[in-house]
Symmetry: C2
Subunit: 358 residues, 2 copies
């Protein structure tokens, strides 16, 4: 298959880990007779520096035409003084909205080698394997009005959803659950918010179409507790944008594997943007110390979700697991009795696995 | 001093633990020459059953006239079938709003005897001692509009704040920090919400009045991570209503002491409503198994915050600590080599400590 991928390295270690993902994808293409073409564009701080805009129009245009988009990371202290509307994160918020990437999928899994780095007790966290499905283009993030009153004495943000927006993310939650352990937890605040009450109704309606999926409802405050006390309870969690932002970050630190977590942001037609959960780590940028594995696993998610290359995605995941099993890691991960490598060398190890697998 | 306290036992174990608090307060009054009078009123499910309203008018009127209010817990499965607006929690939301209880103080501390019950590793959680100051009568909970569109295809909730509402809670945060370790973390989502940007500005303005307090700003998603990975980082956290709801519940499970956590909800004039963080535990209601300590510690918070009886509050806190040190506990707490008691007997132990202290 021929696939065209737009690369948005962004800032900090984004550039290095993107190069790793590209090399891994080329190895996969070579081995499986695919052809991936790549086109690099600016986003975030890098785009502000070169074009005065965190999301240049040509970036959006290229992304629109691509089969999928990979993103490294955005942000860093050099842009912290800028006003809200001109900051690197606006590039991220903007591309999500403009491409219609309504469904953010964030899998959280514990890698055996890293479980000891979890803040949780082993018996609490062991076996955790959950997926947060977060609505990404609606709710409190984008509702209007979002403004101060004229006299500056009041301020308002708006949490708004259309029925269709809730339906499609809830469907995504059910579809994801069907492919996993068939348990969907819908998280809301139905005892306070009208939007949550509508959300809950829609989950109930849709559940009729998914009799094989077991559904429960949990209040967001209870979910924030249960993620810490009993993370293995969860299979798939579906929730609105702001709750998803908070809960997915909370979940990301549970297993000690933050440096390994990928994410996907999907559009209705299956196109998507894939990025690691970690940030731009400006303190180690350019030193060949970055951990490329979350970016590489994000590329694997792209193969699976946008290109339907399940087998190839599994090759990558298996290669990463084998490299970890062999004790190789970057400086950010504390692996007991492991061998520390730089970004380039760790990437090479992954590629060696891919080309040698049978 | 003469003080008049309205008791709102509410539902489930609320009745039992309220009786414990009353007995403890009487012991404190006796010992210190105060006179507390008590008046019991209905709220929540109990009020629905007797008067068809989770917050009868006479409850609000009595609370308005009281020097302080103690609340047990509301809710339970018998009322789960009711529509949102008629449910027990509405009593709680209603009394907060009608009494103007804008500041919710939730201290989270680890009791030595219970640290082993924490989901976190000992080295992560040990020494945690933080206070969440949550705005309680504004934001997403009470903003208008909160409604469906006429055709039922859309829904909206509103996060709104006036400058004054933000100022008074931020001041409360600074005041609380000044009485503790002088470190205030303001939590917002300033990279997305306009209300958060205004919030951050106000924190910056007010910090000029509190040069002795060190302030930092943290995004809510980062705070949700840091509470788990590094809870000892925090002293006082100040945040808006919904973020506070989520983060304070997340924080409440960190130390293994959920059954011991009290809370205060304060009005500008210092009157307040005090309640345990735990719920109504309908499964054990009426069996003399309830843990009264969080309710008793809530009464101690009342003495401190509404009656300025610091010494008396410390007596209660010390008595509770000593009862735990002696190994006494209820069935919900797993204390190693402890002695399990019922609600009545554990309360008696606390009172014995209070009357014997010197
Ligand atoms: C950078 C920020 C605007 C963004 C968000 O809140 O969505 C980030 O926290 C995320 O979760 O991807
Ligand atoms: C019962 C509910 C409405 C309430 C809230 O969300 O404020 C509760 O969770 C709390 O934190 O006191």
């Amino acid at each position: 298959m021929n696939k065209h991928v737009v690369l948005l390295p962004g800032d900090g270690i984004g550039k290095e880990v993107m190069e790793s993902a590209r090399l891994v994808l080329e190895a996969v293409a070579e081995r499986n007779g695919h052809r991936f073409t790549f086109e690099e564009k600016l986003i975030g701080g890098a785009a502000i520096d070169e074009q005065g805009d965190p999301l240049p129009r040509e970036t959006v245009e290229a992304a629109e035409k691509a089969d999928a988009v990979l993103l490294g990371a955005v942000g860093g202290p050099s842009w912290d003084h800028l006003p809200g509307s001109g900051r690197p994160e606006q590039g991220l918020l903007g591309i999500r909205k403009q491409l219609g990437l309504f469904a953010n999928l964030r899998p959280v899994k514990g890698f055996r080698q890293l479980l000891h780095a979890s803040p949780l007790k082993k018996e609490v966290v062991e076996g955790s394997d959950l997926l947060i499905v977060r609505e990404l283009t609606g709710g409190l993030y984008f509702g209007e009005p979002q403004e101060r009153s004229e006299d500056g004495e009041g301020v308002v943000d708006t949490l708004s959803y259309s029925r269709k927006e809730i339906e499609r993310i809830v469907e995504q939650g059910f579809e994801s659950a069907r492919k996993r352990r068939k348990q969907l937890t819908s998280v809301d605040k139905a005892n306070v918010l009208e939007s949550s009450r509508m959300w809950r109704e829609i989950v109930e309606e849709k559940s009729a179409d998914y009799p094989d999926v077991k559904v429960d409802h949990m209040l967001v405050d209870a979910a924030a507790m249960k993620l810490v006390t009993d993370p293995t309870y969860f299979d798939v969690v579906v929730t609105e944008n702001m709750f998803g932002d908070i809960l997915s970050d909370e979940a990301s630190v549970l297993t000690g594997s933050l440096g390994l977590l990928p994410s996907a942001s999907l559009r209705e037609d299956g196109t998507g943007l894939y990025e690691p959960v970690h940030g731009s780590a400006p303190d180690i940028a350019g030193e060949d110390k970055a951990n490329p594995l979350a970016m590489i696993l994000s590329a694997a998610m792209m193969l699976k979700h946008s290109f339907h290359m399940e087998k190839e995605a599994e090759h990558i995941e298996k290669a990463v697991q084998e490299v970890l099993d062999a004790g190789y890691h970057t400086a950010d991960l504390s692996v007991v009795n492991g061998t520390e490598l730089g970004c380039t060398d760790l990437t090479r190890k992954v590629i060696e696995q891919i080309t040698s697998e049978d």
